[in-house]
C-alpha cells in the first residue's frame, strides 16, 4: 500500500512544493516512513534546454570522477553542483545527491531520430549497471526528482521542496516490500521526460522486464515500478503510440469486451493486445505518469487500487484519496473516479 498524488496546471502556471508536501503527508497511513519522493516539472527554467541528471553518489571521491568522465565523453556539462540538502534527525545524507546540467553531442548517435534521448538513456543505463556507488535517478530536461528514505515531510524538508516551482508535480508515499530503506527504491522513477509513481504490485514484472530488456533497457532498481517508466518511454517515444493507446496497451480491455466492439475498434484493440501482450501489466496498481506536457493516471483493469481525480480551473489532480487532494486544494469543483483501465489525462494547453 502506498499513497500517490499528482497535479498538472494546464495553463503552465507554477506551484511551489508546499501544498503537495501537505497532501502527501495526509496519506502517511498508506506509507511506512521508508521512502517518499517528489518530481517537479519546470523547476530548472534557467537550464531548460539541458538534461538535468540527478545522481546519488555513495562517495564523491571515488565514483564521481567515473561519471564525470562518461559525461564528458558523450557531451558537455554546463553546470553541476551538489543538490542542497538539510540533514534532519531521522534523515541523514546517506548518499550525496548531485545534479548535472548536460547537453549530449548528438553527432555521436547519428542513426537515431532522437539522438539526444538515446545518448542520455545509454548513459543512464550504463552508470546504473556498471558504476558501483552511483545511481542516476532523474534524467529529464527542466525537471527534477527529489527522493529519499523517510516520511514525506522529512524528505520534503531535507530538500526544502518548497523552494522549487513546477507546473506539474507527482509525489509518492512509500510502503516498501521489496527494497526497504533504499533511496533508489523510492518513487518517483524517472527516465528522460517520464516520471512514474505507483501504488500496488505488478505481478507481471518478470514478463515486462524480459520484454523491455529486449529493447535495450536495463532494470537496475530492484522494483517493479521502474519498468513502467521504460515501458512508457518505449510505447510513447519510440513507438509513437498516443498516450491513451499506450495506457490501453498496458491495461487492455478483456477479450470479451474486445470481441463485442465494432469492427474497426476491435481490430485496433486486438492488434494492441497481440503486439503488446508482454507489455501488459497485471496485478493491482494505480499509476501516474507525467512528462513536460501531460499527466496520465490509470488503474489495473480490475481496479484493485483506488484512484480519484478532481479539477479546479486549469488544475487537474489525481490521487489515491480525495482527502489528499482537498488538503492540497480545498476549492476543487469536480471529483470523479475513473473506470478500470480508463486513463485520466491532463495536457498543458499553453
Amino acid at each position: 500500500m502506498c499513497g500517490i498524488i499528482g497535479v498538472i496546471d494546464r495553463g503552465r502556471e507554477t506551484m511551489d512544493g508546499t501544498a503537495i508536501r501537505r497532501a502527501l503527508s495526509m496519506m502517511n497511513e498508506r506509507g511506512s516512513g521508508e521512502g517518499a519522493g517528489y518530481v517537479a516539472y519546470g523547476c530548472y527554467p534557467e537550464f531548460k534546454d539541458y538534461f538535468a541528471l540527478h545522481v546519488f553518489f555513495d562517495n564523491i571521491h571515488e565514483t564521481k570522477p567515473r561519471v564525470d568522465e562518461l559525461l564528458h565523453e558523450w557531451g558537455r556539462v554546463v553546470h553541476d553542483e551538489e543538490i542542497p540538502t538539510w540533514d534532519l534527525p531521522r534523515l541523514r545524507k546517506v548518499h550525496t545527491p548531485w545534479r548535472y546540467f548536460f547537453k549530449p553531442d548528438t553527432r555521436l548517435m547519428p542513426r537515431s531520430i532522437t539522438p539526444a534521448e538515446e545518448i542520455v538513456t545509454e548513459i543512464v543505463m550504463r552508470i546504473n549497471t556498471s558504476v558501483e556507488g552511483a545511481l542516476v535517478f532523474s534524467s529529464g530536461r527542466n525537471l527534477g526528482v527529489f527522493k529519499a528514505a523517510g516520511w514525506p515531510e522529512e524528505v520534503a524538508d531535507f530538500y526544502r521542496i518548497e523552494d522549487y516551482e513546477g507546473h506539474c508535480w507527482l509525489a509518492h508515499n512509500r510502503y516498501p516490500t521489496n527494497t526497504p530503506g533504499w533511496w533508489g527504491g523510492a518513487h518517483p522513477f524517472n527516465l528522460l521526460d517520464w516520471s512514474v509513481v505507483h501504488n500496488g504490485e505488478i505481478t507481471s514484472y518478470g514478463t515486462n522486464r524480459r520484454y523491455i530488456e529486449s529493447f535495450g533497457y536495463r532494470c537496475t532498481m530492484f522494483t517493479d515500478t521502474e519498468v513502467v517508466a521504460y515501458l512508457v518511454d518505449l510505447l510513447v517515444r519510440r513507438h509513437a503510440l498516443p498516450e491513451e493507446l499506450a495506457v490501453t496497451a498496458l491495461a487492455p480491455p478483456f477479450w470479451d469486451e474486445i470481441d463485442a466492439m465494432a469492427d474497426g475498434r476491435r481490430r485496433l484493440h486486438q492488434a494492441l493486445r497481440l503486439t503488446y501482450g508482454s507489455a501488459m501489466m497485471n496485478g493491482p496498481f494505480a499509476i501516474v505518469v507525467a512528462n513536460q506536457d501531460s499527466m496520465v493516471a490509470f488503474t489495473d483493469r480490475s481496479k484493485l487500487r483506488p484512484l480519484v481525480g478532481a479539477e479546479n480551473g486549469d488544475r487537474l489532480y489525481v490521487s489515491s484519496e480525495e482527502a489528499a487532494i482537498r488538503a492540497m486544494d480545498p476549492g476543487i469543483t469536480r471529483v470523479f473516479m475513473p473506470r478500470a483501465g480508463e486513463p485520466i489525462i491532463g495536457r498543458v494547453v499553453a
Binding site: M26, M27, E29, A260, K303, E321, E322, A323, R326, M337
Partner: protein
C-alpha cells in the same frame, strides 16, 4: 443531552475515536464532527445508540465493525464504508469508493450518488440480521460478488443503467440485488440469475425506496413503478460445486 461538536481539523483518528467513545459512554446521543479530512476508521467498532454527523471527507473504512450508531456523511465517502458492519446506519450525501459494505452482516447503508467497484461484496445474513445497501445512481463492476445475504438496491437516478459492467453477482449464493431499469444479461456473473419481483419483494423494495427518498429529500414517486425493477438472485446455494472432483 445536547449535541457534542468536535473540530476534527488535523486530529488523528485515534484521539478522535477516543473522544467519540467517551461521549457515547457518557450518554451523548448526537455528535457533530466538523472539518473532517481523510481520517480513517471513524466510529470503528463503536457500539450504542448515537447519531454522528460527519462534515467533510472521511477516510476509508468508515464505520467498520460498527454495531449500532447512525452516521450521516455530508461529503463523499472513501474506500469501504460499512466494512464488516454489524448494525446501525450510514447515510452518505455524496458518492463512495470501492468495496462499499464489504462483508456487511447487518445494518443499512444509503449512498445518495454512485459507488465504485466491488460494492456489497461478500454481504451476509444470519437469522434476523439482513444488511441493506441502497445506492442512488449506479455501481461499477463486480457488484455483490459472493454475496451470501442481504439486499442491494440501485435506483439509477442518473438516467443510465444501474450496472453496466462485468461480474454482477458472480458467485452469489444468498441475498438479492434489485436494479431499477434492469440489466443487460451479458453483465451477469456466474451463478447469478434474473427474476421478477414478487409482491412480498416489492413491499420490501418500496419501503427502501421511500426511506432513501426521505434521507435525501427527494420525491419517491418517480421510483415507485414496480415494473421497472428486476431482481438478481442465486441460481444455486452452491454455485461452484461442479468445479471439483475427488481423487
Amino acid at each position: 443531552m445536547e449535541e457534542l461538536v468536535i473540530d476534527a481539523a488535523g486530529v488523528h483518528y485515534t484521539p478522535l475515536n477516543r473522544e467519540i467513545r467517551a461521549a457515547v459512554a457518557a450518554g451523548v446521543k448526537r455528535i457533530r464532527l466538523e472539518n473532517v479530512l481523510g481520517q480513517r476508521f471513524i466510529a470503528n467498532g463503536v457500539r450504542g445508540d448515537v447519531a454522528i454527523e460527519v462534515h467533510g471527507v472521511p477516510g476509508g473504512d468508515l464505520g467498520m465493525f460498527m454495531s449500532g450508531p447512525r452516521i450521516e456523511v455530508f461529503g463523499n465517502a472513501e474506500h469501504a464504508p460499512g466494512n464488516t458492519m454489524d448494525a446501525g446506519e450510514i447515510v452518505v450525501h455524496g458518492s463512495a469508493g470501492d468495496a462499499v459494505g464489504h462483508s456487511m452482516r447487518g445494518g443499512r447503508i444509503f449512498v445518495e450518488g454512485a459507488i465504485g467497484y466491488r460494492g456489497g461484496i461478500h454481504m451476509k445474513q444470519y437469522e434476523g440480521k439482513r444488511p441493506v445497501l441502497v445506492i442512488g445512481e449506479y455501481a461499477r463492476a463486480f457488484l455483490g460478488e459472493y454475496m451470501a445475504g442481504g439486499t442491494v438496491l440501485i435506483l439509477a437516478r442518473h438516467g443510465g443503467p444501474a450496472v453496466a459492467e462485468r461480474g454482477l453477482g458472480s458467485g452469489i449464493h444468498g441475498g438479492e440485488i434489485v436494479l431499477r431499469g434492469g440489466v443487460d444479461p451479458v453483465y451477469l456473473g456466474a451463478g447469478a440469475s434474473e427474476v421478477a419481483l414478487t409482491d412480498e419483494d416489492w413491499e420490501r423494495v418500496l419501503h427502501l425506496v421511500r426511506e432513501y427518498a426521505r434521507h435525501f429529500g427527494v420525491d419517491p414517486a418517480p421510483f415507485e413503478r414496480r415494473d421497472e425493477y428486476i431482481r438478481i438472485v442465486p441460481a444455486s446455494a452452491r454455485p461452484f460445486a461442479s468445479k471439483y472432483a475427488w481423487e
